[in-house]
Structure formats: C-alpha cells, structure tokens
C-alpha cells in the first residue's frame, strides 16, 4: 500500500528549517565537533577584527558554499530527471561537470593556481561553458533526448581522459597531488570572493531550470503531448540543459566533484512528495543543501589526521543509500 504523498509545501518548510539549522552548525562547529561559540567570544575580546575575519572569510564561505552547491545539485538533479524522464539521470551526465573539472585542473597543471584564488573557479567556469558549447554543437539546434545523453557521455569521457592526461604529464608530484585532492571535492579553504563569483552563474542556472517546471510536468506524458500542451521541446531542452550546465559548472569549479547528491536526493523526495517533476524541484534543492551541509559536518568529526574529502563522504553515504532505495522500490513494486 502506497502512502499518500505529503504536502510539498510542508516538506519544503521543514527542510528549510533543517537547512537553517545545519547552516548555523556549519558556521559554529569546528574540527572534532567542537562548538566554536566560546572561541569566537574569546577571540573577539582579544581582536575584534580578526574574529570577524575568521567568521566571514573562513567559516561563512564554507557554510554558504555547502548550501549553494547542495541546492544546485538537488535542483538540477530533479530537473534533469524530469527532462530526460529517467530516474538515473544526474547533473554530471551532460558533461558540464567534466568540463568544469578539466578547466580547473588545467589551472593547477600550469601552476597558475598560486596566482589568485579566482583562477581555479575561472578555469572551471570556462571549462563548463566550453563543454556546454560543445554539447550544443554536437546535439544540434533541435536536440533529441538520446542525442543529448550520447553527446554528454562523449564529452564526459573526453574531458575525463584529458584530466587524466594532465595528471599523467603533471610536471611535479605535488601538482598531481593537488589536482587529485581538489577533484575529490571539498568546501574547505574557500573564500567569500569565490562565493560571490559563482553565485550569479548558479542563480541564473536555477532560474532557467525553475522556468521549465510546468513543462517538466507536461513531459511526463511524452514529448508529443507536452508539445500539444504548449511547451516547445527546443526551448524547454535548451533552458533545462543550459541552466544545469551553468549551475553545476559553477559548483564544480569551486568545490570539485561532489557525487551522488544530484542522483539520490530527487529519489528521496519522490518518496516524500510524489513523482510530479515540478513539485520535486524546491524540496530537492532544499534537501540537497541539507545533505551537503550535513556531510560537510561529518567530515569534521575526526579530531586528528587529514580531513576526509566531502565528495568521498557523499559517495560513501550516497551509494549504499541508493542501493537501499532500489531494494525498497523493488519490494513495493506490484
């Protein structure tokens, strides 16, 4: 017996509260789960400016990026699954993440990362835009879903190969290590300037994806029916793909690849609010933000040794969870 889907607004409100709580925890919780409130207080008694600087330039960007990247992955995952009408779609599928990763890696490769904190995200965005432009050229002016998936897979494979080549030919083992660690995905040591830099790309991407909400609902009944309900296939596809590429490319360009969030979150929300694509967008964005913020709290738990990378943790939690979800769906299936 299927339970009736919960009210999407109720779920969203609860998730929003959860995101706010996790955001505050992300700002105030340090290594080993220690609450930093007292430290901040002591620090601000000694040096007010320094305390403020630590709060706004170290703690805040980390929490803000967790929120933005998580929301991006959740929203675009739900949007892309709706567009492709495939529950296995995830934001990395269209090649923009691969392009962003390659762009950022090239910055490391040429040793330019030391020049400015902005060079890596700049390289990432350039890579994502190049991947999107290639996708547009490959898939043509009126792309079918199959062409998009095939072209996306090809772009992902090619950028992956080039990234491996950069590692392979890396001038020094340090550069190689830097690249590998960056690619594992992390929110540490990011600056507010990077947050402001990626925000417009993400925001534009979110708006583009959100603008397709009703068209995604109509697409549940197939492309022909969606077209006769007034949604042009070309316009919907372009908006959803460009929006996903912009937002995810921006996310990857500052944090590296954070896997499984975009795939798992829409599934989780589907079991809460039902399968209608438009009703999944907001809850998925919020749940993605909550999941990434929570995973970023989890990586701080070990007191000593290197911090586990965020992308590693999300995949470690995400993959078994996904398996459990598959088993659960299989049991429920008639």
């Amino acid at each position: 017996m299927r339970t009736r889907p919960l009210n999407a607004w109720l779920v969203s409100a609860t998730l929003a509260l959860l995101v706010a709580l996790l955001f505050a925890l992300s700002v105030y919780l340090g290594r080993g789960g220690e609450l930093l409130a007292d430290k901040f207080r002591t620090m601000s008694e000694i040096d007010r400016d320094l305390a403020w600087l630590v709060l706004t330039e170290v703690r805040l960007p980390r929490a803000a990026l967790g929120l933005l990247v998580g929301a991006t992955l959740g929203l675009t995952g739900a949007g892309l699954q709706g567009l492709l009408r495939n529950p296995l779609a995830e934001p990395g599928l269209i090649g923009a993440s691969g392009g962003a990763a390659l762009g950022a890696v090239l910055v490391f490769y040429f040793g330019a990362a030391v020049g400015s904190v902005m060079f890596v995200p700049l390289g990432g965005i350039a890579g994502a835009l190049a991947a999107l432009a290639t996708l547009y050229l490959l898939a043509g002016r009126n792309p079918s879903i199959v062409t998009i998936i095939l072209a996306g897979v090809a772009i992902s494979a090619f950028t992956g190969a080039l990234t491996s080549l950069a590692l392979n030919l890396s001038p020094s083992p340090y550069a190689a290590l830097e690249i590998v660690f960056w690619m594992l995905g992390s929110l540490t040591d990011r600056s507010m300037a990077q947050v402001w830099f990626v925000l417009p790309f993400m925001f534009a991407g979110w708006l583009l994806v959100a603008s397709t909400a009703r068209a995604l609902d109509a697409l549940s009944l197939g492309e022909d029916t969606a077209a006769t309900l007034g949604f042009s296939r070309r316009s919907v596809t372009l908006r959803a793909i460009a929006g996903t590429g912009l937002a995810v490319g921006a996310a990857v360009s500052v944090t590296g690849v954070i896997g499984f969030v975009g795939l798992v979150v829409p599934h989780l929300m589907r079991s809460l609010v039902g399968p209608r694509p438009a009703s999944l967008l907001l809850p998925s964005a919020l749940a993605g933000a909550a999941l990434v913020l929570a995973a970023d709290l989890l990586v701080r738990v070990p007191v000593n040794g290197p911090e586990p990378k965020l992308g590693v943790v999300t995949a470690l939690i995400g993959a078994p969870f996904f398996l459990w979800l598959i088993l659960k769906t299989r049991k429920e299936a008639p």
Partner: protein
C-alpha cells in the same frame, strides 16, 4: 471553428506518407479518420497538431497552425496520442489536471474554472472511481480512459484523438464514443466543437461519426456520410475485405468476414 487542410504532404524519414490531402470541416462535427494500417492517418493528425513538419497548409479559422503561438495553439487543439502513457507514477487526478496547463497563468494555481473542467473530464471518461490511484497500477483500458480525460480537460475547440477505443472493453468503447459524440454536439446557439478520431472499428465509426474520411495511400479515397463511405466497393479496394453489413443508426454494424485478395 473551421478547419481547412490544403494539399498537405508529410514524410516520416524517407517515406512520403501523406501525399496531398485537402479537406474542409466546420462547426460541430464528429469526424472519423479511417483506413488500413500505414496509410497516413496518424501522420495526418500529427501534422494537423503541428507536431511534425509538413508542406501545404493547415488553418484554424484562417490562422495557420504552424505559426500559431504554442500556448494559443495548445488551447485550440487538444491531442491524444496513440498508445499514450505516463513516464512517472502520477496520481490520476494530477494527470488529468495536466490538461489545464495551457490555460494556467504563470505562477498561478488552477482557478475554479480549471477544477470544474477537470471534474467534467473525469466524469465523462468515467475515471472518478480511481482518481486517487497511481496511473501505472491501472489496467491498459483504464489508463487509456485517464489519458482521454486529460485531453478532454483541455476543452479545446478541436480534439484530435488517435485510436481512443482500441484497448477498451465493449461497454467503455460505446461509452467513449458517446463521450466524443457529446463533445462534438452543437450547443443552443448551434456552435460546437470538432472531434477528429482515428478509428479502426468500422461499426463504431458508422454508428457515431457524422462524417468519415477514408484514407488510402496517403490520399483521401472517400469523404462523406458513413453510408456513402463504407460501401462494399470501398471496403474491397482499400481494406481488401468483404463485410456483412446491417442494422441502422446506433445499431448499424459492419462485420468483416473475409479477405478479398
């Protein structure tokens, strides 16, 4: 409402399927589009809905369907695809409500008028009893009625339906034909909506349609009242069958009994 099709040609890949169809229809009419497999019925309907490229012209009250604004076209022409389905396990009432998408203002919830149209459509297609169920758990015939309800909910002046009764039990075949008949019935002012249905059941076509268009080889072979179109000669030349016919009005039947080739 006046539908005019002039010298329409359309291809599927390399195959030239519709080869110069012209027809004109106006007002309240239930038109049956009949003919053997592969003569271009579906392609003609899809061209009329501006789903595929074509040459020639299709106009509604003088406005070309291919240059209409998509939302305006969606309000004017409702379309039910052959063997349509849903990709997600949507709730039945949610699925039928998708038919109101062309009428919704941006960022607005459905208005009372939309809710009323959804309720009318569900009642006409007899799907109220499973309104809360997941559409993927329904039988093929039940699902076909849900999808028809979705198309009815648009309440468009032109309804194009591709094989609406193919998977239904006899009771619901009759019931859905009555629904389509009623959809095309003129109101007090003599105005009404037009239904064009692709049909394979010749008895149902003869009983319920005002007019039949028999396609063969991508062109119009016969066009007129059912008794003018469903002649033994036409049946033999296009369908290559011999049929036993009888009955009158709502009880007419055409029973194919033998091949003639």
């Amino acid at each position: 409402m006046r539908l005019t099709i002039e010298n329409l040609h359309a291809s599927l890949g390399q195959t030239h399927v519709v080869r110069g169809v012209s027809l004109e229809a106006s007002g309240a009419q239930f038109i049956g589009l009949i003919g053997p497999n592969g003569v271009g019925k579906t392609t003609l309907v899809r061209a009329a809905a501006a789903l595929i490229p074509f040459t020639g012209s299709v106009t509604l009250d003088g406005a070309s369907v291919s240059s209409m604004e998509p939302r305006a076209r969606a309000r004017a022409i409702a379309y039910l695809a052959q063997g349509a389905g849903s990709h997600w396990p949507l709730e039945v009432s949610r699925l039928v409500a998708l038919g109101r998408l062309p009428h919704l203002a941006p960022f607005r919830a459905p208005a009372p008028a939309d809710e009323a149209a959804i309720a009318r459509a569900m009642s006409l297609a007899d799907v109220e009893s499973f309104r809360g169920r997941d559409v993927l758990t329904l039988s093929g015939g039940e699902r076909a009625r849900v999808l028809l309800a979705r198309a009815l909910a648009v309440e468009a002046p032109l309804l194009l339906v591709d094989e609406p009764v193919a998977s239904l039990d006899p009771y619901h075949q009759i019931r859905i034909m009555e629904v389509l008949r009623a959809y095309a019935a003129p109101n007090e002012k003599g105005e009404g909506r037009m239904v064009v249905a692709v049909l394979h059941d010749l008895s149902l076509a003869a009983r319920y349609c005002d007019r039949l268009i028999l396609l063969d080889g991508g062109t119009v072979k016969a066009d007129g009242r059912p008794d003018e179109v469903l002649t033994p000669a036409n049946l033999e030349e296009t369908y290559r069958i011999r049929a036993v016919t009888g009955g009158e009005g709502r009880e007419a039947y055409i029973l194919p009994v033998a091949r003639t080739d």
